[in-house]
């Protein structure tokens, strides 16, 4: 499919190439601004973390009984964000949706970046981060292994495998593009692409192999994505704490994850679309679809909230009833109602077609949902700990500025990695876009 540079000028395909590779070739002041902002956030968070390492976790607002706070909240949140990317992309792949070509790649990248961000937080959270390796199963002379009954240990495995598979999934999808880039892009990046493209030269045999391998990964990714979030939910559902110990947690987490993931995806895509004028590829249809999905998930979340409360009072367990009463009316009631507003009410605007087709509205809704989902995680983690079995141990938790700085640092880290990735790797699958174009011209993709 790759034709000689000489012919490129005349060829409309080269136009597509220019657009699809725009994120890598064009670097506006906006990009540098964003990168700078993100980097400085990371620096801030890094400093805050260093104080935790040097002085101890006393600098956080944590106390007994609220031993988990904003750090774990951010962990769960980003695991959630990581969710939609590969999942959506894989689903679109199987449904052979024409929409996938334009958005799939960025979504996958988002997954990768989000999970790399989430992974930081358990390490920060333990305070003496250098001991984190204790939870890894590695052969040692003491004959000590991690406790395989502990959901935290399952987390380690779930997240590691999710990272690996997602990375491979993205990578495999990018092979043809890398090969292309190895020809198109000069300078220091060329040898990199040479190496990464594994010598892919677009022969039929290679395409056949690729087409055969790709679905396998896509197939693995979907159940894996579901499982990862179920496992994270078990960190809570496997305990005996009221408000956590609940069978609904796995589906609830998965729904919440897709919900927040979609919101994040909308934000990133709209940014790309505006920043690089990709309106031709990232179309209303995409956003419409995403908006519908977000709406659906919002409804699911509302249902889950309702169920939680219903069960709490229906079960007649005084502790749990007291907890949920307090969650809605106690010290954290403002957060609770904020969450309801953000996750259950605001997204309802997506019922209107006009809202779904106005990028501005969608961006606002997505921001609201992102905020809502972070606080939602915060809410169910903290309220349960702050107000359970022992009245004498009821206590309020307020995160300190340093904690929040570390959380913001996470968002900075997330954006920074994403910005770097779109510089190094194409944000749209060139090959697939071309397939699309050719298909519309009634040609075979690679003759």
């Amino acid at each position: 499919m790759i034709d000689t540079p000489a012919a490129a000028a005349a060829n409309p395909i080269s136009q597509i190439e220019r657009d699809t590779l725009a994120t890598m070739t064009r670097t506006s002041w906006r990009y540098w601004l964003g990168l700078g902002a993100a980097a400085s956030l990371v620096a801030l968070g890094g400093w805050a973390w260093s104080t935790m390492l040097r002085q101890g976790l006393g600098v956080t607002g944590l106390n007994s009984p609220v031993m988990w706070g904003s750090l774990i909240t951010t962990f769960v949140f980003f695991i959630g964000v990581s969710h939609s990317g590969t999942l959506v992309s894989a689903i679109l792949f199987f449904t052979r949706s024409p929409l996938r070509a334009a958005v799939g790649r960025s979504a996958e990248k988002m997954t990768l970046v989000a999970i790399l961000t989430a992974g930081l937080y358990p390490v920060i959270h333990i305070g003496r981060s250098w001991l984190f390796f204790f939870v890894l199963p590695y052969p040692n002379q003491r004959g000590i292994w991690p406790n395989f009954r502990s959901p935290l240990t399952w987390d380690v495995f779930a997240i590691c495998s999710y990272v690996t598979v997602s990375a491979l999934f993205v990578y495999m999808g990018m092979l043809p593009d890398l090969a292309l880039l190895a020809r198109r892009i000069g300078g220091w990046r060329r040898p990199l692409y040479r190496l990464l493209s594994l010598g892919f030269s677009g022969t039929d045999g290679e395409w056949c192999l690729l087409e055969r391998a790709y679905p396998i990964f896509a197939g693995i990714v979907i159940p894996l994505a579901i499982s990862v979030h179920s496992v994270v939910s078990w960190d809570f559902a496997m305990t005996i704490m009221p408000g956590w110990h609940s069978a609904i947690f796995a589906p609830y987490f998965v729904a919440g994850a897709i919900f927040s993931g979609i919101a994040m995806a909308i934000l990133l895509l709209s940014a790309l679309r505006r920043g690089y004028r990709l309106g031709r590829y990232i179309k209303e249809a995409h956003f419409d679809l995403l908006a519908k999905l977000m709406l659906a998930m919002s409804l699911v979340m509302t249902f889950v909230y309702a169920t939680e409360f219903f069960m709490a009072f229906y079960r007649g367990d005084s502790t749990e009833a007291e907890l949920f009463r307090w969650r809605a009316t106690g010290a954290y009631a403002p957060i609770f109602w904020l969450v309801v507003l953000c996750n259950s009410v605001v997204p309802l605007v997506c019922f209107w077609k006009r809202a779904r087709h106005s990028l501005r509205v969608l961006v606002v809704v997505s921001v609201v949902v992102t905020i809502g989902m972070w606080f939602e995680r915060f809410l169910f983690i903290v309220t349960t700990l702050a107000h359970n079995f022992d009245p004498f141990a009821w206590r309020i938790y307020k995160p300190t500025l340093r904690e929040l700085a570390v959380c913001l640092g996470g968002f900075g880290w997330f954006v920074m990695l994403f910005l770097l990735l779109i510089k190094i790797f194409p944000s749209m699958s060139v090959a697939e876009i071309m397939e699309g174009e050719h298909a519309s011209h009634g040609e075979a993709p690679h003759a």
């Binding site: 976790l57 305070g127 000590i144 305990t239 704490m241 502790t319 022992d390 009245p391 009821w394 206590r395």
Partner: protein, 928 residues
Amino acid sequence: MKTGRRGFLGAAVGTMGAGLVAGCSKRLPRYLIPHVIPPDDAVPGIARHYRTICRECPASCGVTARVREGRVVKLEGNPDHPLSQGALCPRGQATIEGLYSPDRLGTPLTTTGKIGWDAAEGALAAGIKRALDAQKLVVVLTRPELGSVGALFRTWLTALGQQPSQVVTFDAMDRPWLREGARLAFGANANPVPDIAAAKLLLSIGDDLVEEGAVVEQARALADLRAAGGRFVYIGPRLSLTAAAADEWLSVEPGTELLLVLGLARRVLELVGPDAPEGLAVATLRARLAPYDATTVAARTKIGAATLERLARDFLRTRPSLCLGPGRAVAGNNAPALAEAIYVLNAVAGNLQRTLRFLPRPQGAWAGPSMELAELTRRAAAGEVGALIVHHANPHGYGPLFAKLAAALEKVPFVAAFNNQLDETGRHAHLLLPDHHFLETWSDATVRDGVTGIQQAAMIPLLDTRAAADELLVAARSLGKATGLPDGAFGDSVRASFDVKEVERGGKFSEATAASGTLADGALAGAVAALDLAGPADGLPLVVASTLRQLDGLPPTSALLQEMPDPLTSISWGGWVELHPTTASALGVVEGDVISLEGTAGRTELPAHVTIGLREGVVAVPVGYAIPLLDGSPPALGFMTRVRAHRTGAKVAPPHVPGGQSQHGAELSREVTPSRRLPMAPKLPSMNPPVEHPLHRWGLAIDLDRCNGCGACVAACYVENNIPIVGPEEVAKGRDMSWLTIQSFIKDGGDGAAEVSFLPLGCQQCENAPCETVCPTFATYHTKEGLNAQVYSRCVGTRYCENNCPYHVRRFNFFDPKHGPRDSLGLNPDVTVRGRGVTEKCTFCVQRIRGGEEKAKVEGRPVRDGEIVSACAQTCPAHAIVFGDLKDPTSQVSRMAKDQRAYRLLEELNTKPGVVYLARQREKKEGT
């Protein structure tokens, strides 16, 4: 100096020989330094025990000092001593903080600064000589010294040609009204001693048996009384720990206790009719009690005629009964009369010789007539005193309370003070001589006829201090006035007066020989003075609340005692003022508002604690913090004055446990009544495999009916397990590290009388422990002996276990741990010092379990029941906590576990705890 446990051992090497090969780290000394000539029976690494006495308060309970490598690491009760019987109060547990305190003096001080000992001894002798030459008095002002040291003072004064009576005892918490009342009721040399455990009905008129006096003995007696089916009624304005332990708490109009008692006496006398105890001058008493008919008394005291009648009948019916008091909370300026009335009530009810026995006053060279504080004040002010030897007394520390005395002492040309630390009086002294700590020197104390405890030097003095007694001897010798004084060192003479057996037992203990006593003819003859309060008429009566943490009447200085929350209010670090909700709302005050209190003597500011455990219209302040308000008019620390209270607008979060003191329906601390038993424990299925305990299943049984919440167990736990002290800010954030806490719950028991129930709460050592399954690193797991182990070196600090513990008994080191004064040398070498970021919790004193098992193994026998005791069980004055093997059906703990009052916390969670609680018994108000 900042060294941890290993530093302690390092230092220990120097004194106690070699062999620290066990357990070392980078911070270890590079050298091992054995003795040149070792003590014969010293084995490094093995603890030695010395029997001695605790001198934190005049009660002088017998203690056992545990010594490792030459350092006292813990005090425990002396099982052979009649007072302690193996138990010790929180104050006693905290003693070693004072021993290792960095503030201890190591060199003599003069007004100009540090001097050497030779110079100091010269100065002391010179000062005394000047006084003698000037024909002035030499006076000794000392803390209560009921033994050799007290005797020495007298012989020393005699040798100097002074009167032996020139020994003045200084004890701010003294309760002279009891002696005075006894004198009025029974005559000059009667010595009535109550036998609490012998009574079937105990009526305490504000007498806080759990907080004041020989608390260990009294708490035990109280628990025994109630365990034997006796009733305990407490009458006083404040719901103290003692009142909380009572079956019934009543309060009368403040200041009318005297009327109540007289009314009771009259009614009892009527009821007893013909069978009045013989030798009782019924007619005269009738006449003297005539004015106090039920109606007037009921009206004035506002207690209700029915209650009055009930009390009178009970007091007579359930004999032998006993009435005690008055305590600090009700002791006003008519306290002696009240005490007298109480003795009369006992006499009328025929309790003399039964629950109120007469013992001969303890004899000894130390006893005898001695100068009163007032006289010292007068003569010092008049300039008659030429030299004053202050011995562990700090009158200047009490502000206005002893202002007169303090002012008078300014006139004394030479004041020499013996003390361990530099206190206010020390600052005013011309010469300050650092004394040994009482664990470093010899003495003894005769607390009652037939009970003399020996005070042994349990360790070599830490600093360059010298025994006060020896210094006095040196001075006398240098003045050539040593006739009648011991020749050698004072300690040797003390040691010589006890034989080996007695030293091993910790003193001379024999049955007291009962003396006789009867009501004096003059009883109640004196005019009955109504109680009147000083201070502004519109003010609120101030109740001075005695607490366990302030046995010397001053705010606690020990970091441990301050960090340990007050069991009733669960406030730690600092004082507070208690208000009844109605009083509070009248003042527009809520919990935590800073209140300004103005009395006659001065003003102070304290955070408010609003509680129903107080009568309306009064305010209560813990004794140490009430001092600024009281002028010294007798009884110095008592129910003395009214105070104006108003809020300053400032607000503090008193560092105490949140969530209030309500159980919110969660049945944690349970109660049973004759009519209401405990529900059956639910039988729940478990998905976990059954837990095997092949050899032992260690368990704890806590009898809430005996527990009075004193917190001795908490203090013992701190000392035994090297628990960090985090300070007020961290406590306020909810980061206290206490492995064992006393949770107190207060509820309205109907008709306004509040009821308090306690819950000593440590790790429950569950069989299905929620914390064990979630720990990713196996830092916590279940041992074959039923312990819920916590391996500090394996803990990474995910804090997952803390989240999943339904009892919230796990603690996390948010910062590098500090241990207060003990950081230097006082830590327990058998327990790892945890680091930052590590989770810790109660281990059932696993070091003691291992020690006991090793001992048994070496001796080739199974572990005996009661041989291994956790620190909390060991120290409990009320014997409410029992440790043992639940697998051994004959052990006391498993017998208690089968009791029908036995239950486990949050049974519905099916955690199968190894801690068994025995529910508190509540009776109906209508007595027996």
